[in-house]
């Protein structure tokens, strides 16, 4: 298989790239810093003797068509596309600076949507079989923390559901995961014992590749939290701050 991972130099994206390389797949890694990308690519090439290339791109400055062309230039055909890059912001309980707000929306929403849109022809002609997006449990129920981030992730889910509807007659799989807290540098020290290792999430995503489409929780137990949050009366819910 040939796979592209966007946001592959750290955290979940790096874990996914590692598991994909281990399984012998040919890879293109995308993130902003060529040095991190080259270090990850080196490691994977040496350990798993598979072809790993990389591209520098900044999702805050979207150029989805350009990115698609560059990925296809490296890989030829793409079988699986993982849109993993995401961005949180410490001031996202408002008011935020407009530039910061726009970045959060661009990286978490506009860019992944634009990239999926750019690859729509590939999904339709059967060459791209798997599109995987990464959402967040921050999109479960709107709260005073991660306001813009949560909205962007919710918007991304909506688009993925729309895409799934649009492509229901095609053989491709559209999957999106509401991922829980992970032990990465995105949430330093905040996840506590609830934080899962990015590697365990990566393994779960790959085990479900080609499985049911749509939105699912990882780790699975977050679904229970979502149900409980969903039925929590507003008067109680407004106390869940901080």
């Amino acid at each position: 298989m040939k796979a592209a991972v966007v946001g592959a130099s750290a955290g979940l994206g790096r874990a996914l790239a590692e598991r994909l390389a281990e399984a012998g797949h040919e890879l293109v890694l995308v993130a902003r810093d060529s040095r991190d990308l080259e270090a990850v690519a080196c490691d994977l090439r040496i350990r798993f003797a598979t072809s790993v290339r990389w591209l520098e791109a900044d999702l805050a400055v979207p150029d989805a068509a350009g990115l698609r062309a560059r990925i296809k230039d490296k890989l030829g055909r793409v079988d699986a596309l993982f849109l993993v890059a995401g961005l949180g912001d410490d001031t996202d309980h408002g008011p935020m600076e407009e530039a910061a707000l726009e970045r959060v929306i661009a990286v978490n929403y506009t860019s992944p949507v634009a990239i999926a849109n750019a690859f729509l022809p590939d999904l339709m002609d059967g060459s791209l079989s798997h599109l995987v997006g990464i959402g967040s449990v921050a999109a479960m129920r709107a709260r005073s923390r991660n306001m813009v981030y949560g909205s962007a992730k919710r918007g991304l889910e909506f688009y993925f559901e729309a895409l799934r509807h649009r492509l229901s007659a095609y053989p491709c799989r559209i999957q999106l995961y509401r991922v829980g807290f992970m032990d990465t540098s995105m949430l330093p020290g905040r996840g506590g014992p609830l934080a899962a290792s990015p590697d365990s999430i990566a393994r779960a995503i790959l085990a479900r590749l080609g499985g049911p489409g749509g939105v699912a929780y990882l780790p699975r137990w977050w679904r229970l939290v979502a149900i409980l949050l969903g039925v929590t009366p507003w008067r109680l819910f407004i106390r869940f701050k901080g």
Partner: protein, 437 residues
């Protein structure tokens, strides 16, 4: 990029603790502009001294920089980022017929920790310490930027950094000379010995052809003669089978220590009995099990409880060893302390600065933490000095500066060279403050 988190750090065994900040960077741009505040690089935090943290110090956890950057099977060298663990390296190297020569006993230990602590493996006599195998380093310092260190370039700084306890800056990458892996399995013969002295003789006799050679003693018996076993390991010839390092439970004494320790004399007797039953006859160990005996036994450390344990390792000249062991026995009796672990090894390598290296016998012991143990260890410091011994700095959480001054002729030179390289002393740790480095 992530923000630092405030937390309390403990050395393994709870011998030294401090409140500091913790940062786990994972992108190289972070290393371009290291914060100038007092900081200290850190690996897995498995040191028995407070070497990777300090009061109000920013601890830079390097474990996400763990990539293999180059591997040359022709020359037998590998270039890695310093946060890589010995376990990850083992999984890569073993199937390819290579190994790290001087490998300490837990797979979570990082290469950075091995270099900064200049650690030793199962056979320091034959293989020296970790530093001997380091060909080149990339060192990053907030005031000096990125520096390449090798025998040809800044050799003096390389010397200071090997066994430099992270005080010269962050080791970003290292090129290491590898050792061919002789075979997949190792045959370990337990040779029963009646006393510490008998073990010393056996260790000397068998020095010639051992890949692993160390002794283990039961000091809970009355009279404390120290009956025990000399472990003599030799690689088995035969096909070099790739033996994987199976997954192992995490070692996290901070999380799992029993509320009350059970490593008192009866408890130790039970642990020792289990050990001697396990070793009634020679055993064949897989390469992973031979390399990382502690990987499957983290529970052992939890037995000491929240009060933890103190460790002490001394390198005594061979000639002084018998007298040293006799006095040691008397010390245990006088203070009513029974060491939970007592291990001896023939040692080698070349001493210098603050390195725990050189010809002689290494005597390592572990005792349940508390007042008694601390008093005993204070007397141990004097005993070491009297016998020309030197204590291992990375393994003793309470070793005072004056003990090091009495034992290490290189102390002043270490201080002078460190101050010359880094007059603002950007790197600090509990260890560096305790030893006034």
């Amino acid at each position: 990029m992530s923000a630092p988190v405030a937390r309390t750090f403990h050395s393994l065994g709870f011998g030294e603790s401090a409140r500091g900040r913790w940062l786990v960077p994972d992108r190289l741009r972070f290393l371009d502009a290291l914060p100038g505040v007092p900081g200290i690089p850190r690996g897995a935090g498995l040191s028995l001294a407070g070497a990777g943290f300090g009061e109000d110090v920013l601890a830079l956890d390097m474990r996400r920089f763990d990539r293999i950057l180059a591997f040359d099977p022709g020359a037998g060298t590998i270039t890695v980022e310093a946060g890589i663990t010995l376990g990850k390296l083992f999984r890569f190297l073993a199937p390819r017929g290579w190994q790290i020569a001087a490998q300490p006993g837990h797979p979570d230990i990082t290469v950075g920790g091995c270099i900064a602590g200049n650690v030793h493996g199962k056979n320091p006599l034959a293989h020296g310490c970790f530093g001997r195998w380091v060909l080149e380093l990339d060192l990053i310092h907030p005031d000096h930027g990125r520096l390449v260190l090798s025998a040809d370039e800044r050799a003096d700084l390389l010397e200071l950094t090997i066994g430099g306890f992270g005080l010269t800056g962050v080791i970003a990458t290292a090129t290491i000379l590898l050792q061919p892996m002789p075979g997949g399995r190792m045959r370990v013969e337990p040779v029963p010995v009646a006393s510490l002295e008998a073990a010393v003789e056996t260790l000397i006799d068998r020095q010639g052809d051992a890949d692993q050679l160390y002794s283990w003693h039961d000091m809970a018996t009355s009279g404390r003669r120290g009956p025990g076993l000399v472990f003599h390991g030799r690689p088995l010839n035969g096909p070099r089978s790739a033996l994987p390092l199976a997954s192992y439970p995490a070692l996290n004494p901070e999380l799992w220590a029993l509320p009350v320790g059970v490593m008192n004399r009866p408890g130790i007797a039970v642990v020792n009995l289990a050990q001697s039953l396990r070793w009634r006859r020679p055993r064949e160990l897989g390469a992973a099990e031979a390399a990382f005996p502690f990987a499957r036994l983290p529970y052992y450390f939890y037995l000491y409880g929240r009060k933890g344990f103190l460790e002490h390792q001394t390198l005594v000249p061979w000639a002084a060893a018998p007298a040293y062991l006799t006095s040691l026995r008397r010390l245990f009796d006088r203070h009513g302390v029974t060491p939970g672990l007592f291990v001896m090894k023939p040692f080698g390598g070349s001493p210098g600065l603050l390195r725990f290296e050189g010809e002689g016998l290494s005597v390592a012991l572990e005792a349940a933490g508390g007042e008694q143990a601390r008093t005993l260890f204070t007397e141990l410091d004097a005993l070491d000095a009297d016998h020309g011994g030197r204590a291992n700095l990375i393994k003793d959480a309470r070793l005072p500066a004056r003990a090091v001054a009495a034992q290490y002729p290189g102390l002043d030179e270490f201080r002078r060279r460190l101050a010359a390289f880094d007059p603002r002393r950007r790197m600090r740790s509990s260890l560096s403050r305790r030893l006034e480095l």
